[in-house]
Symmetry: C2
Subunit: 265 residues, 2 copies
């Protein structure tokens, strides 16, 4: 028998709803997913990270084939409970509680020789989530958030990632220097980015392989001087018109694709 | 003597505030700008489009040098009026009423031989504004919105454009086919975009010059079949990872830069 929750005051629902706050996510080591599109990516790619599925009755049929080999807890909820849990205007009524992914230092080593994106102090959740989604499309190993960047499992970031967190590594590391050092030892090139025409024009870079790290900085202040100094090269994207700058997620996308498209994939 | 407005019930303020609605923008042929950064771009690049400047006293000194040769109406407002007019959480207290730009068919002709971006049915204001800003950075002639796309002078689009509407042509055209026909007669190539690997990989395109039109489609449905059929080529951007698609503003940015960087600029 599947448990059915019909009260928004249910203790479990209240507890799950608290996962929208960073403090509770870190205490519990869990976060909240919403929407069938994203939950399906979790069930397919990282079933071991999923703990609880909460759904209105509509999705029970489509969910059934996925349930066979797994021991997820499935709870039926009603529309009112769905509205309380939802972060969107029109919810499709399906949610999941997932474990925050944990990656060992070994995982962060030379990962299939594919590139890494580093987000230093990026604050806007839409920008951060979009960069994860774009890094996924561009075939990156993962996206590393600096300690001062937004929490990658903030609900707005999660919404923008559109499930890409189940395709690549998304991690917040406290010691970015150590991460860069590990990559350097694996013959990864380290690229920073600067909005400064004295930096290296992206068109001058010729890559022989995908072993590189691309670092993007804060929306207003750019990459920290400390990280820029650690880079083998700092890249800039030419401005052909009169705009002063590009949005950071846009710049990251153009750079990632520009680098990936010149490696013969 | 500068007029000072201290009541949020002032008739002129009420009228200006209505410019946040499309209906009133079209009736008046005007729209509302907010923020010194954007207003400065207007004063420098398109002074003839500015009619009224409304500002809290803080900006009067920085504004003065710009006022010399122009007959703008300048109104001083207080913080309460600024809050009413503002669309942001923290307003800097300066606003302007600007004329909606008008472009004749001649302007839309062969414009310095630079490329055009066409937004067909794009609905999200952030996406639309970001694409205008990116097209500006990439050195485009302008951005043409289809009749079914969002109003380019919607306040959220205006915020995302960050003043780029004063650097290039931003226009909504009712007859997109006629626009394309005019460009074709000027030897412009017409590129559509499709999320479909049977389309032409962007890496196969070799451009000799900047005479091209790039068309992006709706966030959910892509480019309309009708427009895709009018293209000389439909382009697609390879996905190297597992993401299903890219955000439309991200895809547009990668395509614009990929095309512009191969023309020797």
């Amino acid at each position: 028998m599947m448990q059915k929750i019909e009260s928004v005051k249910n203790e479990q629902i209240k507890k799950i709803n608290k996962l929208k706050q960073k403090k509770y996510r870190q205490q519990a080591g869990k976060y909240l997913l919403e929407g069938w599109h994203v939950i399906k990516e979790a069930l397919i790619n990282r079933p071991q990270e999923v703990e609880i599925i909460l759904t209105v009755s509509d999705h029970l049929a489509v969910l059934r084939p996925y349930l066979r080999d797994h021991s997820w807890i499935v709870l039926e909820i009603n529309d009112r409970v769905a509205e309380v849990l939802s972060d969107t205007v029109h919810t499709d009524g399906i949610f999941a509680v997932a474990k925050l992914p944990e990656f060992s230092e070994t995982t962060l080593l030379n990962h299939e020789s594919k590139p890494w994106l580093v987000l230093d102090q990026v604050q806007d959740p839409g920008n951060a989530g979009t960069m994860v989604r774009t890094a996924d499309a561009a075939g990156f190993s993962g996206v590393i958030f600096s300690a001062g960047a937004i929490d990658p499992f903030n609900s707005k970031v999660v919404r923008s990632m559109q499930g890409s967190q189940f395709h690549l590594i998304v991690a917040q590391v406290h010691d970015l220097k150590a991460f860069l050092e590990i990559q350097r030892q694996q013959d990864y090139q380290i690229f920073g980015t600067l909005v400064d025409s004295s930096a290296t024009d992206i068109r001058q870079i010729a890559l022989a392989n995908q072993r590189y790290v691309l670092m993007m900085g804060n929306e207003a202040h750019g990459l920290s001087t400390e990280l820029a100094a650690l880079a083998d090269d700092n890249l800039y994207l030419p401005i052909f018109g009169q705009a002063e700058s590009l949005n950071v997620a846009i710049a990251a996308a153009v750079l990632m694709y520009q680098l990936q498209m010149q490696v013969d994939l």
